[in-house]
Symmetry: C2
Subunit: 276 residues, 2 copies
């Protein structure tokens, strides 16, 4: 585990670290905020999965989450969104390849050797954090934005018991019915749509939902409403009376200005679910 | 006044605007956050002057000030740090030329035609804001970081009665005695050090100080302590019993992680001085 940088922040430490990832077959970089409470013992961990084109750095720098996390006593992990490197497959489009891992394990050429973000964020990186930092694996929650909201919701619903809560800003909500989904699942997982089901938040919500509270914020002026399909997820949540809230935030778009505006709510939501 | 972008943020609007600057002889871009309270009338204005290498965007994106400003009902203006353009003088060093205006009006070749950031931030941009946005020119305060802390302190002390309060993170405190100052003042203002005096916070503090409260935060692990010379300013403040506080923040460095950690304090300080 290589330390790229560490800066004092809200009485804790905002770090950036690099490690060799076996599942991605390359070095991976992530951000980790450790709150001041970590000085006296393991702290709960909130995952933040980012959206298309992002690295570990975007949300870490722009989402203004650290102050609220410090107050609550939560660690925040900001993983990258894909493997990266000159020798790793890529695509000219912003929504496929590097920066667009979609939180799946690819089975198709040329993606399969490196694009295994599902295993990375659910297995390899959690183990690496447990080994190197005072985080408590028994107290975790997860959130994300856009493609990362898709990631957070699908990871949470596929791992009952692991996360106390899940939240998302403007998640890709029904990828099997959207061009943000069909294109990438075809490329990474192949044409058999049966392999896509466990990576679709609306289908998972219909099939069983999440065993804890869910918080979704969606801006009314989001420029990607057609691709995100928030209505499908809201319908599925209401139909199964999922514990949680689906909030339309009037006037907000898809940007980090939206996320930072409601970050206090999301951190407080997870802190409460974690018993903080 | 051209609108580059506007995003809903904390119930207000984070905008970026571009306008033709006569004093800089080029188009200038700035960020302006208008809080929700601006919908019902003019609001007080807090200036944020940025440091070396920054554009209008760095503090706007990384300082996490908007939430506190929205709560207090303050507008925030983030000017650029210099004129910019391919046809405008520059220097290969990061600390001279574009991105390093030092908040002076240059009198020397080749800088004089464009490098007039003093007149820009004290006269031209305030007039442009008054004309285009519901800000109250009778209620202003000013803050900044590093080179922008130097700018905030020198602008405030040269304009008694204009600003209710001034604050700075890690300001360049005594530029006439530092390589962050002597080099730039020589280039922009010439060898006559008499022209430098009104641009030195420590000398201004010794000569008369500020007619309101002052708040300075300085990280103990700042990598530029030798260039910033915080002790000279602290000594001058204490010697004249200047209303205010000089705080050493243990473990913090020169970065935005430091600034965002104490932004709540600074906004609350200015809000109180403005009677909010």
């Amino acid at each position: 585990m290589e330390t790229v940088s560490e800066n004092r922040c809200f009485g804790g430490v905002q770090g950036v670290y690099r490690h060799a990832s076996a599942v991605c077959g390359c070095d991976m970089t992530f951000g980790l905020f450790m709150p001041p409470q970590a000085a006296s013992g393991p702290v709960p961990l909130l995952w933040y999965l980012s959206g298309l084109t992002c690295t570990h750095e975007n949300a870490m720098t722009k989402a203004a989450a650290q102050g609220w996390a410090a107050e609550a006593g939560l660690a925040l992990c900001f993983p990258d969104t894909s493997p990266r490197g000159a020798d790793i497959a890529d695509d000219a489009a912003y929504d496929l390849g590097q920066g667009a891992g979609f939180y799946v394990d690819a089975t198709q050429t040329p993606w399969a050797p490196h694009f295994n973000m599902w295993s990375y964020v659910t297995e390899e990186l959690p183990r690496a954090l447990d080994a190197a930092f005072p985080v408590d694996p028994e107290r975790q929650a997860i959130m994300g934005h856009s493609m990362g909201g898709h990631g957070a919701l699908t990871v949470a619903m596929n791992h009952p018991g692991r996360f106390a809560s899940v939240s998302a800003f403007a998640p890709i909500s029904h990828p099997v019915a959207s061009d943000w989904g069909r294109k990438q699942f075809t490329a990474y997982l192949g044409a058999d749509e049966g392999t896509w089901t466990r990576h679709d938040a609306t289908l998972l919500m219909q099939a069983g939902g999440f065993d804890g509270p869910v918080l979704i914020d969606q801006g009314s002026e989001d420029q990607f409403l057609d691709l995100l399909r928030p209505g499908d997820l809201a319908q599925a949540m209401a139909a199964r009376v999922q514990d949680g809230q689906f909030r339309i935030q009037k006037g907000y778009d898809h940007s980090y200005w939206f996320m930072q505006s409601f970050m206090e709510d999301h951190i407080a939501f997870h802190a409460e679910a974690l018993g903080l």
